[in-house]
């Protein structure tokens, strides 16, 4: 039997080694991890002070490109954050929402509803899953998502989601040690999850856009529907109103719009469809100018959408104006300045 | 027992091995399985004994003394 003193010495040495090891490990992770805007933006959400976000937006890329909390801050003075990623899996959306609501108590939650029709195949969408998950801190919610993904696709390992280095380890080949510096995930975002794009695709609406075709609407995907219902239930439990949102997108139909409206009514939440004729007119969307591609607004479109949507939210939910609140003003005004500069808007 | 005859057999089998000194003939790899089989054949003829596969363990062949002991035991049985 070894003596106590010796035993404690060994224990301390092991702990010290584990610490040193973890340091190297996270350093290497930061060096090799693939950084997407989405993971950075999703991660920077943790940098927002507790209970400081008035509107929380969750969903896929149309939100990421199309909704700018900074524009709404400037115009109406309420705060918002977009936790969006390209083709966000319904499970990830739910996890992000549930996790966010532990630290924030928004006045409204806005869920992008387009993906309710989408069959989400985990085996085909690893990249999109990573975009959503790599920026998310470890939590029971994240573990639930990981379990669901790895059960559906046994090629993917849970370990590689817990330690992303296990997934990106082969990138040592691409790294130039002289050039590339370890880059931790973003801690503070000036654009609050809105990664805008300047390009203008110069598109036109397809023929008969948003006109009834007489065809039945496609069916909802059962999993997606279940997760949206779960999200709504969670918000109801916390007494937070939910808006199901559809942002301008050329691949959308009258029938789909009606189906989601019915779904919203059944679940007792508000549905807002920005492709409906009456909303489009008010927004003043010009298809030749405001689209980045068929599915996403460009910067110009996003500013139009955000101005209109901000007003709509502000009026409907009587959101607070923090512009003169010293607890907000400094940080948010500085972020606005940077956003305006990067976006080329007037300060 | 007649050690001289044994030494003669051994020397004929492997003239390059120092049987007097080496006490780990098998464990050191000096005698391999081929040597053992040839040796056993010779011993059986010379001493009129039967050495079975179950007697082939390193301890019985590691040194001249061990081999003598094995032969003596088998002769007495």
């Amino acid at each position: 039997m070894m003596g106590w003193k010796k035993g404690i010495g060994i224990m301390l040495r092991c702990i010290a080694f584990v610490l040193v090891f973890s340091m190297f490990f996270s350093h290497t992770t930061n060096l090799l991890m693939r950084h997407d805007d989405e993971s950075n933006e999703i991660h920077a959400f943790y940098g927002e002070p507790e209970d400081s976000i008035d509107v929380l937006y969750i969903g896929s890329s149309p939100l990421l490109r199309g909704v700018s909390p900074m524009v709404m801050w400037k115009e109406y003075g309420f705060t918002g954050y977009v936790r969006a990623s390209a083709l966000q899996a319904p499970a990830v959306s739910y996890g992000l929402l549930a996790e966010s609501l532990r630290k924030q108590s928004p006045k409204v939650v806005v869920l992008l509803c387009d993906n309710i029709f989408l069959e989400y195949d985990y085996t085909e969408r690893e990249g999109d899953l990573r975009r959503g998950l790599d920026g998310m801190k470890m939590s029971l919610y994240k573990l639930d998502i990981i379990r669901e993904v790895t059960e559906a696709d046994e090629r993917q390992s849970a370990l590689s989601y817990v330690f992303p280095l296990m997934r990106y380890h082969e990138r040592w080949k691409e790294i130039d040690l002289a050039e590339d510096k370890p880059e931790p995930l973003l801690e503070h975002s000036f654009q609050k999850g809105n990664v805008f794009l300047g390009y203008n695709a110069g598109l036109d609406y397809p023929e008969g856009f948003m006109q009834p075709t007489g065809q039945p609407a496609p069916a909802f995907n059962a999993d997606a529907q279940a997760y949206i219902e779960k999200s709504i239930a969670l918000c109801r439990e916390k007494d937070i109103p939910v808006v199901l949102l559809h942002l301008p997108k050329m691949a959308w139909s009258f029938e789909e719009s009606m189906a989601v409206e019915q779904f919203a009514a059944d679940n007792g939440v508000v549905y807002l469809d920005l492709d409906r004729e009456e909303n489009r007119t008010q927004l003043g969307i010009v298809p030749q100018e405001d689209y980045y591609d068929k599915g996403h607004m460009n910067l110009r479109g996003s500013v139009k959408v955000s101005r209109w949507l901000g007003k709509w939210l502000d009026e409907r939910y009587a959101l607070p104006d923090h512009r003169d609140d010293p607890a907000y003003a400094e940080s948010w005004n500085a972020d606005w300045a940077e956003y305006a500069r990067k976006a080329g808007l007037e300060e | 027992m007649d050690t001289e005859a044994l030494m003669k057999i051994l020397a004929e089998l492997r003239p390059d091995v120092d049987f007097e000194e080496n006490k780990e003939l098998v464990d050191s790899g000096e005698l391999d399985s081929f040597d053992i089989v040839s040796l056993v054949g010779e011993l059986c003829d010379a001493y009129d004994i039967e050495i079975g596969a179950d007697d082939i363990v390193p301890e019985n062949f590691n040194s001249v003394e061990a081999i003598c002991a094995l032969i003596t035991r088998l002769q007495e049985d």
Binding site: R155, K173 | S33, I36
Partner: protein
């Protein structure tokens, strides 16, 4: 549960913790339970085979033990009244009696193994034969999935049974203890094949926790994982690409593939054994050595003494000695001396059993013609080596070649490596005819553009991968040479100062994490030896 999986690491850590937390008296029980949980998790459906082998081995061994003790008292009483011939007759009669127990047990267990492993092969070939002979009828072919580790645990338990039969070990009368001996989880998947007299006692006794030993165990496991994940799995990409297209690539490619496959299979197999040995060491159990730097062997027999040692030793003790010392072969030897003269005659009882052993080792690797060809190839090399040993020595003497020097040793090592590599082509190529084609192209079509025209880079590994492969092989060679000259790596490392040690540990872990071939876009190739 692959050895390099996270699940295995967790399983090992949990079972080691449970083991050392158990009161000393019951530690072996914990180990037993852990083994069965492992086997259940890894290949649950096939439990019945393991249980059948355990039970039959147990019963046969206990019966043999009882017979032996009864015989002892009876013989002691009768001994005085018997002359030498009488004693001999008594022994022979008793041996015959014991064989009535031993032989059915052996037949049953090796029978299960053969049916699962070889029935498909045999029926296929019989069907082909029937078709050629124009005989109607076709044998049905069953495809069995092999229970995890069946070759290994069958050999281990049958070795034990033969030891009991030979009265070398006392039979284990506690069924759970015997089950523990047969199912020790680090070794059940791919060996090393343990012996009762060395392994059992270590498993049954309560081992104390030792920090140094655990550390050494973990270090060995890391080294094993390095060999497997960084070296073997990396070179496998290249090897697969060449062996996948045997017709299109020239002789140089074949040579690279053969050498690559030598590295791959050694890294994979010995890496797995290192992980097993390290894992056992954590529990305070020393497994038998299975590899001793085989590619530094100076001859084919030397190679087989260093490669998969426990399998070779098993065949030597339980097949080779009984065969070559049997009356039949001893008589054959005597007859041979009259016909062929002393030199060859003396060798006959050695050579023929040796050939049989290599045939068996060949089919042990798998039920395919190429493995039989591999066995015959090795058997032939060994036989030729023995037959020509003396004449060649004489020739060298006459040519004045000095044989006690470094350069000669290097020559021997390289020569052996080439012969071994040729054998590896036989086992790795898709079939016997493909391997013949490949070996021929090494002679006839020596296409060297693999070196000059970037051919190496078209085999699935880029330049950086090749560098990693090269450097890690250098590390492997350095360690092997150090060990060959008697340096004990882990003990030497332990004497260095803390900073150096930690740098080595960190380097080891990170080279695994970064340079290991694992994760998506890569088929988690299980240890090549697992299915055997």
């Amino acid at each position: 549960m692959a050895f390099t999986s996270f699940r295995f690491v967790v399983f090992l850590a949990v079972s080691a913790a449970l083991y050392f937390l158990t009161p000393k008296r019951c530690r072996w029980v914990t180990l037993f339970v852990v083994n069965y949980v492992f086997y259940f998790l890894a290949g649950g459906r096939y439990f019945v085979y393991l249980l059948a082998t355990t039970l039959t081995t147990y019963l046969a061994a206990v019966m043999l033990g009882n017979m032996a003790s009864k015989n002892k008292t009876a013989f002691a009483e009768a001994k005085a009244g018997l002359d030498k011939e009488g004693r001999k007759a008594w022994k022979a009669a008793f041996a015959r009696k014991k064989r009535f127990v031993l032989v059915p047990a052996l037949l049953l267990n090796f029978g299960i193994l053969s049916i699962l492993k070889y029935s498909g092969f045999v029926c296929n070939n019989l069907n082909a034969l029937f078709a050629r002979l124009g005989v109607g009828g076709e044998l049905p072919i069953f495809r069995f999935l092999l229970p995890l580790g069946i070759s290994f645990y069958t050999f281990q338990s049958m070795g034990y049974l033969i030891d009991v039969y030979r009265e070398k070990v006392e039979p284990e009368r506690n069924l759970a203890k015997l089950a523990l001996f047969i199912s020790f989880f680090p070794q059940i998947v791919q060996g090393p094949i343990g012996r009762f007299n060395t392994l059992a006692e270590q498993l049954f006794r309560p081992n104390e926790f030792s920090y140094t030993r655990v550390k050494f165990g973990v270090q060995l496991m890391l080294w094993g994982a390095f060999k497997k994940m960084v070296i073997a799995d990396r070179v496998a990409v290249m090897v697969d690409n060449i062996f996948g297209f045997p017709e299109t690539l020239g002789g140089c490619y074949v040579a690279v593939a053969a050498l690559g496959y030598c590295i791959q299979i050694y890294g994979d197999f010995s890496g797995g054994i290192d992980i097993a040995t390290g894992a056992a060491q954590i529990f305070g159990i020393t497994l038998d050595k299975n590899f001793e730097r085989p590619y530094l062997a100076t001859s084919i027999p030397d190679f087989w003494r260093r490669w998969h040692i426990t399998l070779g030793a098993w065949f030597r003790d339980y097949v080779f000695y009984p065969l070559s010392l049997s009356k039949f072969f001893q008589k054959l030897g005597k007859a041979g001396r009259r016909v062929f003269g002393n030199y060859i005659g003396k060798l006959l009882p050695v050579l023929i059993p040796q050939f049989i052993i290599f045939f068996l080792i060949g089919i042990w690797h798998g039920a395919e013609w190429k493995y039989i060809a591999f066995g015959v190839y090795n058997g032939t090399l060994i036989v030729l080596g023995i037959l020509f040993e003396q004449p060649l020595k004489n020739l060298a003497k006459r040519l004045g070649i000095r044989m006690e020097c470094f350069s000669w040793r290097v020559f021997q090592v390289l020569r052996t490596l080439v012969l071994v590599a040729l054998g590896k082509i036989i086992t790795r190529a898709p079939g016997v005819s493909a391997s013949v084609y490949m070996i021929r192209s090494m002679v006839e079509n020596w296409d060297t553009n693999i070196f000059w025209e970037g051919g190496m880079l078209k085999l699935g590994l880029d330049e950086k991968d090749l560098w990693i492969l090269f450097l890690s092989c250098c590390a492997l060679l350095t360690v092997s040479l150090l060990q060959e000259s008697g340096v004990k790596i882990r003990e030497t490392l332990a004497k260095q100062n803390l900073y150096f040690r930690w740098a080595v540990y960190l380097g080891a872990v990170f080279s695994l994490v970064l340079f290991g071939v694992y994760g998506l876009n890569y088929d988690a190739s299980d240890f090549i030896y697992r299915g055997f």
